[in-house]
Symmetry: C2
Subunit: 385 residues, 2 copies
């Protein structure tokens, strides 16, 4: 096991009817801005429940945060925050809304050009407004971590940043809020969380047994519960298990003392930034290709994963690794998330653009060994055609 | 899954040579009291390393905290804390030293009779000094939770209390510090952590898949690594896996959304308080007896545990439950921790005294269903003779 430092201060309020606790979590004298997305929280009554719970608090609203939240949109919110002297941000939505809110929180307290926050990967952030979340989609884990991903629409740059100052103070997780999600969003969420786990698990063995088994436990849970909710979207326990798995997948515990890959995410981000594919779709395309490309380096963990998650019988490591990759592809496809570029009308022509963007963003040596150069990214993507 | 609230703010610094970080974790202007136990930290050089790391800080020492820390001893530390205007407590030791330090932290800020803290189970605590820990024994999980157990030697009362104010700010976990532990302390630690997990896992099913699998992952790890370190005490990875398992066993994650038992601990506490057995010894005695007594209520989880931890083949639930109990007893015995009262020279004569103490402490309805009355405790203990 490698050395690590772990701390996660976020408070999680999980279960039925947690929104009513909002008034205890946000001080009465705060000026709160509720940040949300395309309006589904209006239609399904969540926004009303939130506002009812905060009826004695001064509340502003900022709607319209899009999937892969745009810097341009978020800067409008920053203006209002400054003008109205907002001092608490409440994200009501999924990962995009929470990520956007994190950016608003940091940008509202930053003196220079706010894009510096993203360009510096968060290192310039010295302060941020406090954040709370009401989660409506189980997927990104943003509700319990200090990472945010923001897209500059003008230049098609999708980039992450991280800072201890953007950790949510609290997050409310009501599994019932996910009952009414469109099927593709539910499926994307399961695949997203699944890949988050794999990025931290399918590397090379460091004998970190607790972390490996936590990863396997979360993967097994998503594997079992994911297909269930496609058939029975109102299965409370399945929704709850998926929601808690997605949060646990990216709250820092899995990466304690272990190497991490993240090549899939870094390449996937560029695909979304340039061509607008859903985040989970890019992950389902890139991860199997990365694994094929790095199969011998990852064989031992792939085989362990195959055995403990997909019940692949013991044989030679390479064979088990190959079977584990195939089982994963089959799972993504069964969840309705396609795994080839051609499924989305994309082909080899995207490779130079992806490589350009990766170079522009300084992502030129990816993977747990930093050996996937941009040239090799081309070979990886050819495996994903 | 049941509703839950989870928050754990402790910062964990894990791995080799973490003590050198102490100067970054404790502000230079603090007046620090180092609290430790019987002196092994002097002999093995840990205390010197701690003091070297804090060479620019004003440091006091308080040694002599015993196993199952005595209220009487701790109150002497409280006097020094007040006299010397100590404003940071650094526990250097195992669970007893950390628990004792938590009590000192709360008592130093409490105006009334300090035993109220324990008698009220912590509810009177409104303030405590900040605490840091350097852990030297993997066992109790006290380094990452807000619970403390203290014993009043005069009246043989061993009681726990809990308060958000006694959560350690940080804990340093160096697996190498456990290399030189006496074998019985290593074994006790493994059994203690193992039982902490079981108290939160062997109840009734609530379909909390993440929590179940985390429990099983930790149990499997302790099952594999525990026997290893008895043979190879300097196996770093095994020590690291045990240490992280013991911390994760009682940091609140396992009990999110699930019922908990704790009857074994409450009965075990009285046995230690009255007869001085090691904490882990009492757990190894009482838990199998509780399970025998409540076997039908616990059968489903016992069978799941048997299958996933002890590879017990599928058969009827009652048989699998019985086999799981036997496997657990065998494991405790293999770790060198005996499982019957008679192994420690105790017999039926203790039952009335145990029942008296439980009634005195208000622990009259134990277990996840609160159905184990003190009368039934007698029947349980007869199964442990």
């Amino acid at each position: 096991m490698q050395n690590f430092v772990y701390q996660n201060t976020a408070k999680i309020l999980f279960g039925r009817d947690q929104i009513s606790s909002l008034s205890q979590e946000i001080a009465l004298d705060k000026r709160v801005m509720i940040v949300y997305g395309g309006g589904s929280v209006k239609r399904n009554g969540v926004l009303k429940r939130v506002k009812d719970a905060l009826q004695n608090t001064i509340v502003f609203e900022f709607g319209g945060v899009e999937a892969n939240p745009h810097y341009e949109t978020l800067m409008k919110a920053v203006d209002i925050v400054k003008q109205e002297k907002i001092d608490f941000l409440l994200a009501v939505g999924g990962g995009s809304v929470i990520d956007g809110t994190k950016f608003i929180a940091a940008a509202a307290c930053y003196e220079g050009d706010a894009w510096d926050i993203v360009k510096s990967y968060g290192s310039v952030v010295q302060k941020a407004l406090p954040i709370g979340c009401v989660l409506t989609l189980a997927a990104t884990g943003s509700e319990m971590n200090n990472v945010s991903v923001v897209t500059k629409a003008a230049t098609k740059d999708k980039l992450f940043f991280a800072s201890p100052y953007i950790m949510p103070q609290f997050s409310i997780l009501e599994p019932e809020l996910t009952f009414t999600l469109p099927e593709n969003q539910t499926a994307n969420g399961v695949v997203d969380a699944f890949v988050h786990i794999l990025e931290q698990y399918i590397t090379y063995p460091v004998n970190a047994k607790v972390q490996d088994r936590l990863a396997e436990g979360l993967l097994n849970t998503l594997k079992e519960e994911g297909p269930k909710v496609l058939v029975s979207p109102e299965d409370y326990d399945a929704r709850a298990n998926i929601m808690w798995s997605a949060t646990m997948a990216l709250n820092g515990l899995l990466s304690t003392g272990t190497p991490a890959d993240w090549a899939t995410h870094l390449i996937g981000q560029e695909i979304t930034g340039l061509y607008g594919l859903d985040h989970a779709q890019t992950l389902a395309i890139v991860m199997p290709a990365i694994w094929q490309y790095c199969r011998s380096e990852k064989a031992e963990k792939l085989a362990q994963y195959g055995s403990r998650v997909w019940d692949i019988p013991a044989s030679d490591t390479e064979t088990m690794a190959e079977q584990a990759i195939q089982a994963t592809v089959k799972f993504f496809e069964e969840m309705g998330v396609k795994t080839h570029l051609s499924d989305y009308g994309l082909g080899e022509e995207i490779i130079p653009e992806i490589i350009n963007k990766l170079e522009e963003h300084g992502h030129v040596a990816l993977g747990e060994h930093s050996t996937i150069t941009t040239e090799k990214v081309g070979e990886v993507l050819r495996l994903a055609l």
